[in-house]
């Protein structure tokens, strides 16, 4: 069975600085997908970034980028130029290549951006 681990329950960063959130996963699959979701205080789940395991290039979406290390089964999220609106809980998630589309989530990391 696949598992996803986020070992940092809480983190903080000063506005405009860079922060990295860690995520590791365990799987025997070769083809899979990894995601980072953001959950602000509004409780809405928002997709931040997605990575396909067969792609070596790290995904990037504006200020958000990932460091995908397939051999190490690591998938960290880097937020550059942090903004107050980035304050949220962040979830790492795994989906194996299948037709059921089940997402397996990590425990979450609460990020606070300080002014």
């Amino acid at each position: 069975a696949q598992t996803v681990t986020q070992s940092q329950p809480e983190m903080s960063v000063q506005e405009a600085e860079t922060v990295t959130l860690s995520c590791t996963y365990d799987t025997s699959e070769n083809n899979y997908y990894l995601f980072w979701y953001k959950q602000p205080p509004s409780r809405q789940m928002i997709l931040v970034i997605r990575q396909e395991a067969y792609k070596q290039q790290n995904a990037t979406e504006n200020r958000f980028s990932v460091n995908f290390q397939k051999a190490a089964k690591s998938f960290s999220l880097k937020i550059s130029d942090s903004q107050l609106g980035d304050t949220a809980m962040y979830f790492c998630a795994f989906m194996k290549q299948s037709n059921t589309g089940k997402l397996i989530f990590g425990q979450g990391t609460t990020l606070q951006v300080k002014p």
Partner: protein, 114 residues
């Protein structure tokens, strides 16, 4: 606005009572999911459905049931609520052809069982 509607937004429920959480989507997505969110545990899959008429069990299905009579609706029923079912419940959906692109989530239902 296209998306997922969950109802109620929040509910306090007496233990032993029956409760149905409603989930409706207007995007014609084939796949739908129910998750519960608990602090320190993240989101855990309760039940899922890949198409109308079919359902499957997730990681934590005990005490919950679902049905999928049509494409749009995917209700979650607690037959006899217990305090350990206090949680925030999220419904999500995805089109089958883009299932690896992640989900659209509803805004959640906060359920407190007392």
């Amino acid at each position: 606005i296209a998306g997922i509607t969950q109802a109620p937004t929040s509910q306090i429920l007496a233990a032993g009572r029956r409760m149905t959480l409603r989930c409706t989507q207007d995007m014609r997505h084939n796949a739908m999911y129910w998750y519960r969110q608990d602090l320190g545990l993240g989101l855990r899959l309760i039940h899922y459905s890949n198409t109308a008429g079919t359902t499957g069990k997730g990681e934590v299905p005990d005490g919950y049931s679902v049905s999928r009579a049509n494409t749009d609706d995917f209700p979650l029923t607690l037959a006899s609520a217990v305090p350990s079912q206090t949680s925030v419940y999220f419904c999500a959906s995805s089109p089958q052809f883009a299932i690896t692109y992640g989900y659209t989530f509803g805004s959640g239902t906060r359920l407190t069982v007392v």
